[in-house]
Amino acid sequence: MRFVLGRLGHSVLVLVLVSVLTFALIELSPGQFFDDLKVDGQIGSTTVETLRQQSGLNETPLTRYLAWTQSVARGDFGVSLAHRVPVGSLLWERARNTLLLTIPATLVCWLVALPLGLWLARHRGRWTDRIFTTASSTLVSLPDILVALLLLLVALRTGLFPTGGMLSPGADTLDAMARLRDLVNHAFLPFCALILVLLPPVIRHVRASAIEAIDAPAVRAARGHGINGWHLTTRYILPLSANPLISLAGLSCAALVSGSVLIEVVMSWPGLGPLLVESLLAKDVHVVLGASMLATMFLVTGNLLADLTLYAVDPRVRS
C-alpha cells in the first residue's frame, strides 16, 4: 500500500500545482469581475471601487491566493463574487446534476463500446466494420455544440421531447414516480447528445486494442488449441486488450465533470456547464478555481483507479 500513499501524495501535489497555475493565469489575463459595471450608466466608479474593496479584489494577488487557500481549508472553497455564496455548496449542487447525466451516459457508452468494439475487431475489414469506422470518424469531427443543437431541432420538429431544463415547472405537484418519468423525459436529449459525443472515441480505442490482442501470439496459440468463440473472447482477447483500455477508462472518469459543459449550456441542463461558462467569461475567480479543482480531483482519482485496476488485473505487475 506504499504505492497508494505515494500516489495520494502526488495527487495533492498536482492539485496544488493546478490551483497555483490557474490562479496565475487568471491574474495574467486582463480585466476583473466588476469591470462590466463601468459601462452601466447607472453605477458610478465610486460604487465599483467599494464593491471591489468589499470582495477584496484590490489586494495583491498573493494575499488573495492565500485567503483562498484558507477558505479551502475551511471547506468553503472561496466565495463566488456573483452569487455571494460559498463555492463549495454552489459547485456540489450543480455537480450532482451533471453527474446525474454523465455517469449513466459513460456507463452506457462503455457497455455498448466494449462488445461492439470487440465484434468489429473480430469482423474487421467487412462492410459493417467500414460503416462503423466512417460513422465514428464523422461523429468525432463534429463539434459537440452542433450535435446538441441538431438534437434540439429534432425535438422541436417532432415535439416529443422538452427542449431544456431538468423538470417541468409544475413538477412539484406530481408524485415521486411521475416526477421521475418527467426527469427522464427531460434528460433524454442531453443523454443522447452526450452518448453521441463520448461513444465514437471509445469504440475506436476498443477496436484498435482488440485487433492488437487478436494478433497476439497468446491468442493465436489459444485458437491453435481449439479454444474459440465466447470463451476465447472473454478469457483471452478481452484481458489482453484491457491494459490500454483501463487507462482510457481512467481518463473518461475525468471527463465525467468536464465532458458535458457545452451540451449543458445549449440544452439548459442545470449542471456545472452553464455555471462554468458564465464564471469563466465573468472571471468569477473562486468558482473557476473550484471547478478546476473538481476536474483535477476527478482526473487524478480516475488515473489512480486505473492504476489500481491494472495492478489487480495484471499478475506481472503484482509480483
Binding site: 480585466g31 431544456g164 439548459s268 442545470p270 452553464p274
Partner: protein, 588 residues
Amino acid sequence: MRLIASCLAAIVFSALPLRAATPPAPIAAGEELLLQGPDAGRHGGRLVVALRAEPRTLNPAVAIDAVSREVIGRMGGDLIHINRQTQLTEPALASGWTRSKDGREYTLTLRKGVRFSDGHPFDADDVLFTFRVMQDERLGSSNRELLIVGGKPVDVKKVGQYSVRVSLAQPYAAAERIFDSIAILPRHLLERAYADGTLQNRWTPATTPSSIAGLGPYRLKEYVAGQRLVLERNPYYWKADSGKKRLPYIDELVFLFTGNEDAQVIRFQNGESDVLGRAGADNFNLLVKDQNARRFQLADLGPSLEYNFLFFNLNDLSRKNLPQVAARQRWFTDLNFRRAVSRAIDREGIARLVYRGRGVPLWGNVSPGNRLWQNTLLPHPPRSVAEARAILKTAGYSWRGDGALLDRQAQRVEFTIATSATSAQRTEMATLIQADLKELGMDVRVVPIEFRALLERVFESFDYDASVFGLGGGDADPNGEMNVWMSSGSNHLWHLGQSSPATPWEAEIDRLMQQQLVALDARERKRLYDRVQTIIAEQQPFIFLATPNVLVGARSDLANFRPSVLDPYTLWNVDQLYFRPQGTSGGR
C-alpha cells in the same frame, strides 16, 4: 430497476416542498387600495418566463445584474413609479406628493393600511431605513449614485407616521423619477443584518422564503439551484382592479433558467414558456414565420431607447506611450475626417442586415423610441461616398494609385475597430463599416476580442483606435445620460478623465446639461436638450449607427399583455395579466 428508480427519486426531489397556491387575502378596512385598469380579469393560473441567466441575489440594495433586477422588480414596491406605457410618473406607495416653490423639497404622503408580503404593516420608518441603506458608502449599493443630486445625497426626514420630506441640494428637474425602482426594504427583517454589516450577503435566492418580504405583487415561494425560481401571489398586495378584486390575478410566476437566447426562443416556441423577453431580430422573424402554426402573439414595439455608435480614441495620450495610436489621432481629432466617415457609413444597410429590417438607423443620441425628448429637427443626411470623398479632399487628404487614402503627410490611413467578441451584432456592424470605409480607401481591420479585455483597453490603457459600443436603454429622461455627456462623466468614452472640458463644444454641452438638470419647466428642458443633441450631431464624437426594435412575445390567451419600450418590457404590468378562459394554464 425498482431500486434505482427509488434512490433516483430521493436524490432529486429532496428540495421540492409541496404546497398549493395562496389565495388573495380579503380586503381589510382602512386599506387604501390603488384601483387599476378598466377590465376585471380572472384569478388563477401559472405564468412561466424563461430567463437568460440565473438571478444572483434577491436583495434590492446590492442587485447589479439585469436578471436579478427583473425578478426583484416583481417582488418590490417603490414610492413613485414611472408608467412604462406613458413614460410619466404616477403615484405608487406614496399616494401623493407636493413640491416646494424653490423645487428643492418634496413632501410625500404614504398610503395607509399597506402591509408587507409577510403581513407586517408598512410605514415611514421603513422608507427612512431604505434610504439610509441605499446611501451608505460602506455598503456600495447599486442605487447610491441615483440618489445623489447636486453632489450631495438626498436628505429624507420623517414628518409623520405616514409622511416623509425629501430635500435636495439644488432644484432637480423630474426629481420624482429618482424614486422609480427603489424597492422599499422591510425594516423589521433587515435592521439587525444592516447593523452587524452583513446586509449585502443576505437575501440570496437560496434563503428561506419566510425571511424575505416586499411590497410587490409576488413573494418568494421556492428556489431550485440551476433550474427555476417560483414566486407566489402576495396576498396583501395594495392594488385592486376596478371590480375591487385584489391583484395580481395569476397565482404563480415561474422563472426558468436557460443557457442562451437560442435556448430561450426554442422553449417559448415549444410552449414550455409563456412570455418571451427581448429577442433578436433573426429569432423573431423565425417565430413570425412560424406564428400561424403555433398559438402565440408577437409584438414589434418599434425602436428601443438604446443607441449603438462607432467612436474614435480621442483620449489624452501624453502620459501613455502609445506612439502609433497618437499618430492616428491626427485623423481622429479632425472633425472633417469624422464627418466623412459618418457620411460613408451605410446606416440603412446596418439596420437591414444586422437587425434583418427590425431596426432603425440613427443620426443622434436619442432614439425615435423616446417620443418625449427626441429632437426631430436633426438632419438625416443619406449615405453618399462621393460627398464623403469631397469632404476628405477639402481636408487635404489624397488617394494613391491603387485607391489607398493618404493623409496630409502622405501616410496611409489605416486603423483597427475593436469590438466585443460576445456581442455578435456589434461585430457585424464593424464588418459592414469596414466594407463601407474600404470604398473611401481606408484600410480598416475588425478585431473582436474578449469583452473584459476591450473594457480594459477603453477605460484603462487607451490602447485602441476605434470601437463600436452600445449605451442608453435605462430611462427616457435626459438625466439618465449625465454620465455620458458631462465631460467629467465616467461614460464620456471618447475622452475619459477630463478635469476641465477639453474642447469648447464639450464645455457648452456641460453648461447645457447642468441647466436642464435644474430647469423645472419641461418645455425649457426640451429646448436645452435639443441644443445638446444638435451639437453632438455636428461634432460627431459618437458616430451613431442604428437601434434595434423591441421584439417580444407571449401566449395568445394572455390578456392585458401591453409590452413597453422601457425596461422591463413585458412584465411591468404583471399584476394585471390574466389568462382568458379558452387557454389552459401554465406550461404543458
